[in-house]
């Protein structure tokens, strides 16, 4: 139990000013994102100055945004869920097989995807909250299980060719006022995919839930200090359970969005997305010790992470390894910033 005590102390010290912690980290994240993006537009121009290139970051990462939101919630309660990437892959594969090989309808595929995510969330939440097993180990097993099941369902990539699915996949929502002239001088309106709208809706809903509902506030309370949350009359177990269920459900939804974006099931789908989600949450100012975090910050975390990836590849370091090294450096930087802020706070 020594670890618990350490966490408790931090929570107590954070106490009332916990919100200012959140705000400070959020401000840093948002600032970093804007400075980075403006610098990219000024110095690299071209690919960055078009509105569409910004919207493409959203298009490519709608699923990651949803995954990161779930991750942030679990992290706010002081846990972690490293199974989300593998669940994304499993959902993609199942939806693809269901639509293409079993001739299922889109509605059932949707329910299937959400159901898988929900099942992972419920099992993991039960093990973490009610049996008191460490979340890392539980979700590690979940990740293993999802990875293995994906290959058991199908080893070969399954490409979906159903027309009704492709119709939904190719819906492009044009954003009024944003557009640019292409090389031929034609005006090309900027667009986002359906997934982005869903992801943005998730961000808004979760932001409201975390800020104004009893459940949302109890996530923070549980993450800040288990014992005092208990004394306040919050059902700690139930709250933790719900956080994991929510994260699982969002992983299912993230899987569906991923599937909608790539249109196929593949063993490699969603690989490493758990790390991207954790990285986005950390960059977005969520503390792994729990109790501090913000969904808007997480959203900007995803944007920052992918902006820096694009900057690095535009600079000519387009070998795959540079992207990983940059992400790592980014996590490192933000972790050190966080830790310095926390240490200074604890000294006062």
């Amino acid at each position: 139990m020594p670890k618990e005590i350490a966490v408790d102390k931090q929570g107590r010290l954070a106490g009332r000013p916990a919100m200012s912690d959140t705000n400070m980290l959020l401000t840093i994240t948002v600032l970093v994102f804007f400075v980075m993006y403006i610098a990219a537009v000024v110095f690299l121009g071209g690919g960055f100055s078009k509105p569409q290139s910004f919207l493409n970051i959203l298009n490519n990462n709608a699923s990651l945004i949803v995954l990161s939101c779930g991750m942030s919630i679990v992290m706010i309660t002081g846990g972690i869920d490293i199974s989300v990437g593998a669940v994304t892959g499993l959902v993609c594969m199942n939806c693809a097989v269901h639509l293409e090989l079993q001739g299922g309808s889109i509605i059932t595929a949707l329910l299937l995807g959400l159901g898988i995510g929900l099942a992972f969330g419920i099992v993991q939440g039960f093990l973490v909250a009610h049996l008191g097993i460490q979340p890392f180990i539980v979700s590690l097993a979940g990740m293993f299980f999802a990875k293995g099941m994906t290959t058991i369902v199908s080893k070969e990539p399954v490409r979906v060719t159903g027309e009704s699915f492709l119709a939904i996949k190719n819906i492009r929502v044009t954003v009024p006022g944003l557009g640019s002239n292409n090389k031929l001088g034609q005006y090309v309106p900027a667009y986002v995919e359906v997934g982005v709208l869903i992801a943005l809706a998730v961000v808004v809903i979760l932001f409201c839930v975390l800020r104004w509902t009893k459940l949302g506030r109890s996530f923070y309370a549980v993450g800040g200090n288990n014992q005092s949350a208990n004394m306040l009359g919050i059902n700690v177990r139930r709250t933790k359970f719900l956080a994991h269920v929510l994260c699982g459900l969002l992983a299912g939804l993230g899987g569906i969005l991923y599937f909608l974006h790539v249109g196929s099931g593949d063993v490699a789908n969603g690989a490493g997305d758990e790390m991207n989600a954790i990285a986005s949450s950390i960059i977005g100012g969520t503390l792994l010790t729990g109790g501090v975090g913000n969904i808007v910050g997480t959203f900007f975390g995803v944007l920052s992470l992918n902006t820096i990836k694009r900057i690095v590849s535009t600079l000519g370091f387009d070998e795959a390894w540079w992207s990983n090294i940059t992400v790592a450096a980014m996590i490192c930087l933000f972790l050190i910033i966080q830790s310095i802020i926390l240490m200074r706070k604890n000294k006062k």
């Binding site: 972690i80 539980v138 293993f144 293995g148 950390i282 992207s323 490192c332």
Partner: protein, 360 residues
């Protein structure tokens, strides 16, 4: 009378023993294989492609293939005990160690028929490099107070990329028989060399734990860093030290892994091994929250995991589906060892015993 009392609590004491889970799991696996197919345990003497007599059989392959895992489990136990968290970058740093060693022995070329640098120096360089990365991880954990899993997430993300970068993304290949001694067989000795390396490292750790205060200090720091500081220890240094030690273990594991084949695949080498290593520590009855530890439990845990892997392979479970089966085993183990479940089970036993008495 006294004997009878101890007899009554024998079962409870047995299930409470730290090594109960790994030993029980091992026995269950052995029993399963004995019943399903006793030929699992057959060992035969064969001749390998170099004309050396070598032992082959599932048991030998378990002992051989578990080597890397055992080394990682030893280091991971210390890290877990001191910092209450796990290093998830071990697989990635194994790739770095392997990459450094291969670059040196190949002399920077894509392929080499003889070693271009003394093997000893190459391995030493690998050890130094991974110890440096261990120190980086340790510094983040100890001095910046970042949670171990998150701190090592950095190297987990970047490690394989750094390994590829060290060799300019080429896949060096060495065809020197002498390089492969460490990963395969020494001429004339029928037992795989990794088994000896592992035994040697276990011996080293046994001596270190016996004759130094490393074990005591690590536990003290893990149980309560503040009070150990008040008792004159430096918790930060000790945490850092455990990560550096893990770095050394990782380098030797990486060396064994690359010398098995003489080549490296950055994205696949030692894939998911960090998960197995953490599992080994948990299986060995160590708390993943730090504090008291038992290295021998972790070592046994590592062998149990390899035993499970080999058993699954024998029944033609494809390697890609392996994780699903392992996950089920992990969940069963952690559920059974969860304090809540244990309490309920013992209560059930008590109430059933009471009911039996009442009936009598």
């Amino acid at each position: 009378m006294k004997e009878k009392r101890s007899d009554e609590s024998f079962f409870r004491r047995l299930t409470r023993h730290q090594l109960f889970i790994p030993v029980a799991a091992l026995l269950a696996l052995v029993l399963f294989n004995l019943i399903a197919d006793p030929s699992f345990f057959s060992i035969s003497l064969k001749e390998n492609s170099l004309g050396n007599p070598v032992l082959s059989g599932n048991i030998i392959s378990v002992l051989d293939n578990a080597s890397e895992l055992v080394l990682l489990a030893i280091g991971m136990t210390l890290v877990t005990a001191s910092s209450g968290g796990q290093d998830i970058s071990v697989g990635a740093t194994m790739a770095i160690a392997g990459s450094v060693i291969l670059r040196l022995v190949c002399g920077g070329q894509v392929s080499a028929d003889t070693m271009q640098a003394p093997l000893f120096l190459a391995v030493l360089a690998g050890i130094v490099v991974t110890m440096a990365f261990g120190a980086f991880n340790g510094a983040l954990v100890a001095y910046f107070k970042i949670q171990p899993m998150v701190a090592t997430l950095i190297m987990f993300t970047a490690g394989r990329s750094i390994a590829a970068w060290i060799n300019n993304n080429q896949l060096p290949f060495i065809n020197d028989v002498a390089f492969k001694y460490a990963g395969t067989f020494l001429p004339g000795i029928p037992v795989p060399t990794p088994v000896f390396i592992t035994l040697f490292m276990i011996l080293v750790f046994w001596l270190v734990l016996k004759f130094t205060n490393l074990g005591l200090y690590t536990q003290a720091v893990g149980i309560n860093a503040n009070s150990s500081r008040l008792n004159g220890l430096d918790p930060k240094k000790i945490k850092l030290l455990t990560y550096v030690i893990l770095g050394a273990c990782v380098a030797i594991a990486g060396f064994i892994r690359v010398s098995r084949s003489g080549s490296i695949n950055y994205s696949r080498i030692a894939e998911n091994i960090e998960m197995d290593a953490i599992l080994a520590v948990a299986l060995g009855g160590n708390s993943l929250g730090g504090g008291k530890f038992n290295v021998y439990g972790s070592i046994l845990g590592a062998y149990v995991i390899q035993f499970l892997t080999t058993t699954l392979y024998k029944y033609n479970v494809p390697s890609t589906a392996l994780p699903a089966y392992k996950a089920v085993v992990v969940i069963l183990l952690v559920v059974l060892s969860a304090p809540v479940v244990r309490e309920k089970l013992s209560r059930m036993k008590k109430s059933s015993a009471k009911a039996a008495k009442e009936v009598a």
